[in-house]
Symmetry: C2
Subunit: 288 residues, 2 copies
């Protein structure tokens, strides 16, 4: 499918990411339709010209005219929604999503989907600790990675269209990996980091600590403000990969603990040098 200005886009679930998708497409001249169960969300999106049309109901006609259906729903809800509503899809419709775990979603959805439609998974690695369409902003993508997560079932055409979505939304970088690679990587760079931030935030109960904190502590705990419904689901759906990464991390911090106990200055310095060298690879300046 070639995306052009006649392409009908339907976003299901207009939260922070779905809302930002809507803003991005609308800005580029697309007609964006949306379904969200929350009336305030739809009202806000219409009033602010984030979408052209929207409803809180299952609207067979609205779903039926969509060339591209993008799910901004939570993983479990996404699967259920497809099951219930795929009967309304236009033949040839392309389905994609924004969910942060893939292995437990992609195969199930591909297996249950009608033969005349195609589901291609994607993960926009952007977000915000504030929720809802009210906080959505298409600019969160300009600096972010967009990952296409195809399986053997996907056609080259669908992969190309999915990449094109990332281009239209102006992601900084577009890449392609398998569901398994995706989940391992996300267990590390996203889920483990949230586990660490939460643990750091809750492990000390000193009062008025906020009066003495510098930027380091604020940086490390920014993501400790966490949506418990979404993230408890994401953690559990990716449990094995996440537990593996937590193990690697806790073994590493225990090593440092031992070096401290033994006052092994050279060992500590060596770890600091390796840390500094590896962190340099992650500098944005280098990438842009």
């Amino acid at each position: 499918m070639k995306i052009n200005n006649k392409t009908n886009i339907l976003i299901v679930g207009l939260g922070i990411v779905g809302g930002s998708y809507a803003r991005g497409f609308t800005k580029k001249g697309f007609k964006v339709h949306a379904i969200d169960t929350n009336p305030e969300t739809i009202e806000f999106a219409l009033k602010n010209n984030i979408i052209a049309e929207g409803t809180t109901e299952i609207d067979a006609e609205l779903i039926g005219k969509a060339d591209i259906v993008i799910s901004g729903l939570y993983p479990h809800t996404f699967k259920e929604w497809i099951k219930e509503n795929q009967k309304y899809f236009k033949s040839g419709a392309l389905i994609t999503d924004v969910t942060g775990v893939k292995g437990c979603i992609v195969y199930d959805v591909q297996n249950m989907l009608r033969e005349d439609c195609e589901y291609i998974a994607a993960h926009p690695m952007a977000g915000c600790e504030r929720l809802g369409v009210q906080n959505s902003n298409e600019k969160i993508f300009y600096d972010a990675n967009y990952i296409v997560v195809p399986t053997e079932k996907n056609t080259e055409e669908a992969i190309d269209t999915c990449r094109h979505i990332g281009e239209i939304l102006q992601f900084a970088r577009i890449s392609e990996i398998s569901p398994e690679e995706h989940d391992e990587m996300i267990g590390f760079v996203s889920q483990l980091t949230h586990c660490i931030a939460m643990s750091l935030m809750t492990c000390d109960h000193t009062e008025n600590l906020e009066d003495y904190t510098g930027d380091s502590f604020r940086d490390l705990t920014r993501i400790a403000r966490i949506d418990e419904t979404l993230w408890s689901e994401l953690f559990l759906l990716n449990k094995d990969a996440l537990l593996h990464q937590m193990k690697l991390f806790t073994m590493e911090i225990s090593k440092l603990e031992r070096m401290l106990m033994e006052a092994d200055k050279e060992g500590i310095k060596d770890m600091m040098r390796r840390s500094t060298a590896r962190r340099k690879l992650f500098d944005k300046e280098r990438m842009d």
Copy 2:
């Protein structure tokens, strides 16, 4: 001592923090002198009007005319420098510093110092992962906490003067705690965070990981670029407090690990709620 435009300020060790002090004082019209062993540092500082006078030598006259001597040296070097050079101090001189650990410094320096001078400890909680006077910037203080760390030996007058330094440099917040409270707090908000960032940075060796990372990982590892000479010294000087904080943290992350293994969704959600609630206290918007 009342600080006025005739007050002579000497900064010893013109690194990122010492250099930023120099810029801040110079901007406010003070005559700032500096001693640093690195000729390039002094040359840069003179050329860029960060200081009025500077030398790489021990200059008895320069030291002798200082009303306030501020050490920007590493902890051990600071003690040695005082021992060697206090003979040159003007009678009545006030000595202060910027070191990030206090218990192992403050009492020793106060005990060895000449009776006619006074040392009052301070910790500006600001810094930068880039080093040297070349990267110094007085603006790093505008958003930061300045902590005065007095002992029973300190006079009210010295405490007031030390606070005044924080005001002149435009710190966002000035507070006062004991060396013991300081070290416990810093073990948590600063040293533990660096331990975590380092461990996160070095625990996984996946190549090209930088292509897939979002802001969370970058935020959590910003401080993984770490000056090994300074920080290995800081860690070991505050070993007991730091090990205690590491224990608290690793116990907390193990709790989360267990909940994940047991798929205890309610327990995970509860921890996420507590994390979110506590993080809100640390929002800068709230404080400013």
